[in-house]
């Protein structure tokens, strides 16, 4: 069944239009990837779904309900959690406290302090350190863990691999299967095509605010993807 249906949404930053009538869907249990170059509008789309940006035109339907006007904190309660671009962990809080605040609007589910620490052992080691002193990869793990603490039905991952070394990226993506096992649907945004396509059931490509390609990764040729990604 369709968990998330984004239909013909547009988004503006002042006069600048970032998204043009974009439509995507996520079925329950799916992992969907959105790829695209810098500035294509991928983060904008995620922020829109999370409620941080207003839509102008179009509908966002989550679990059958139109949620365009629902504020971010209520979307969390409904089960949409965002792991934002740039991690955005709270520097004044320790690692443990970041996880605990992730449970502010907790829903019932399998993710709690113990299970998140099992998923990312580094978080157990660094428990009492300030989040500010973590490395990039550790912060990313923390940000994902923090979002999981709310037990989301739909996890939004924004540019998880940005600025991280390949081995670290691989470790983070290695956690995805466990997250999926729990029944969480994942919508991930990536500039790193290979990583995204290998993790996803279906993928969309965004080019300058419009969907340029969609389909199952197996069915997309390299040439098609390159064309859709770069625009030629």
């Amino acid at each position: 069944m369709t968990l998330l249906a984004v239909e013909r949404v547009s988004s503006f930053y002042g006069d600048f239009q970032a998204l043009f009538d974009v439509s995507i869907s996520v079925d329950e249990g799916e992992t969907i990837a959105i790829i695209g170059a810098n500035g294509a509008g991928k983060s904008t789309l995620l922020r829109l779904i999370a409620g941080l940006l207003p839509t102008r035109g179009g509908e966002i339907r989550y679990d059958g309900q139109v949620v365009n006007r629902l504020p971010t904190h209520e979307r969390v309660r409904e089960g949409i959690s965002l792991v934002p671009e740039g991690r955005r962990v709270f520097p004044s809080l320790s690692v443990d406290e970041n996880l605990m605040i992730g449970a502010y609007r907790r829903r019932s589910g399998r993710w709690d302090l113990a299970s998140v620490r099992a998923l990312f052992p580094i978080l157990a080691d660094r428990g009492r350190r300030s989040a500010a002193v973590l490395s990039g990869g550790e912060q990313q793990a923390l940000a994902i863990g923090r979002a999981l603490m709310a037990n989301p039905r739909l996890l939004l991952l924004d540019e998880v691999s940005l600025g991280l070394a390949p081995i670290v990226i691989a470790q983070l993506y290695a956690a995805l299967p466990r997250i999926r096992e729990g029944g969480t649907s994942v919508l991930l945004v990536e500039q790193n095509i290979d990583q995204a396509l290998s993790a996803a059931d279906r993928a969309y490509c965004l080019l300058e605010g419009r969907i340029s390609l969609s389909g199952r990764p197996a069915g997309l040729s390299r040439a098609e993807v390159t064309r859709a990604y770069f625009g030629f």
Binding site: T72, Y104, A150
Partner: protein, 291 residues
């Protein structure tokens, strides 16, 4: 020996200033809001206490049981109905609205209570004192004031460190948008922060009313003292605010020892000196900016 006495009095006075300043510091930390009506709100609490004492006959300290919840409720409503709307408008909006609020409060109090000086009477406690040495006498009231200030600060720090609310406040103060992302309702949270702030300034206002006479025109002075304590101590640190309050208190009493007419001015001059030499304050929390 009068100098030692002056310093001790200043220390105790610092407790009062810290109480008045705590709310200002907390609200700025969480919402980056500088509330120009802060002093007038503290004074409002003193007047409310006056009315309660006058109508029910209970003592000023007992009146706190009514005044504090009342002021906290007022703070929550004020934030949600009016001040939350100034958040997007930036500095200009919040300064003008809180300034307008200060004008309304001050003149409102003036209209209702006239310009006469009032006091909150605690009977013999007002002058009761403790003999420390043969030359050093410390009043019980200032001692209780400092003690209360410390208790408030400890309680607040514990709340910030150990409770989910405290974590939420610290998170929102770090990154308002990320706070929303983890499910925090900022409008509600800001309301709570303002409620706490007004609760503490209410206690400070009532203690002030007990310690000295007060009149509607005194609001701005309270704001200025609270503000100076925060700046001297450094933004973002509750304990820094206590230190700031104490330094301000001591500056005033020592200045007053030189010449009673110089008391307030001495505090201002120390504030200006700190501003010139160490503008970030004495114990600033790293990363907190003024605007």
């Amino acid at each position: 020996m009068e100098w030692l006495n002056a310093i001790v009095q200043g220390l105790l006075l610092g407790g009062l200033y810290a109480m008045l300043a705590t709310g200002l510091s907390l609200v700025f930390g969480v919402m980056r809001l500088v509330n120009l009506a802060h002093g007038d709100l503290g004074l409002l609490a003193a007047f409310v206490a006056l009315v309660i004492v006058g109508t029910t006959g209970i003592g000023p300290f007992a009146s706190l049981l009514i005044v504090v919840p009342l002021m906290m409720g007022l703070g929550y409503v004020l934030q949600r109905v009016i001040l939350n709307r100034t958040m997007e408008g930036g500095v200009l909006s919040s300064v003008l609205v809180t300034f307008g609020l200060a004008v309304v409060l001050q003149n409102g109090l003036l209209t209702i209570f006239t310009a006469d000086s009032r006091g909150l009477d605690v009977g013999s406690l007002e002058t009761a004192s403790l003999q420390i040495t043969d030359r050093l006498i410390v009043g019980w009231l200032p001692l209780i004031t400092l003690g209360t200030a410390v208790v408030i600060l400890v309680a607040l720090q514990l709340m910030l460190d150990r409770t989910q609310l405290g974590r939420a406040l610290r998170a929102a103060s770090d990154d308002g948008e990320a706070a929303r992302i983890v499910g925090i309702d900022n409008r509600h949270l800001f309301g709570l922060a303002m409620a706490i702030a007004l609760g503490t300034v209410a206690i400070g206002g009532v203690f002030l009313g007990i310690r000295t006479t007060f009149a509607p025109a005194d609001g701005p002075a309270l704001l200025i003292f609270a503000y100076e304590a925060v700046i001297i101590g450094g933004l973002g640190s509750l304990w820094g605010t206590l230190v700031g309050g104490i330094i301000l208190g001591v500056s005033q009493t020592v200045g007053g020892q030189i010449n009673p007419a110089y008391q307030i001015l001495a505090g201002h001059l120390v504030f200006l000196a700190i501003l010139l030499l160490r503008p970030e304050g004495l114990f600033p929390r790293p990363g907190v900016r003024q605007a």
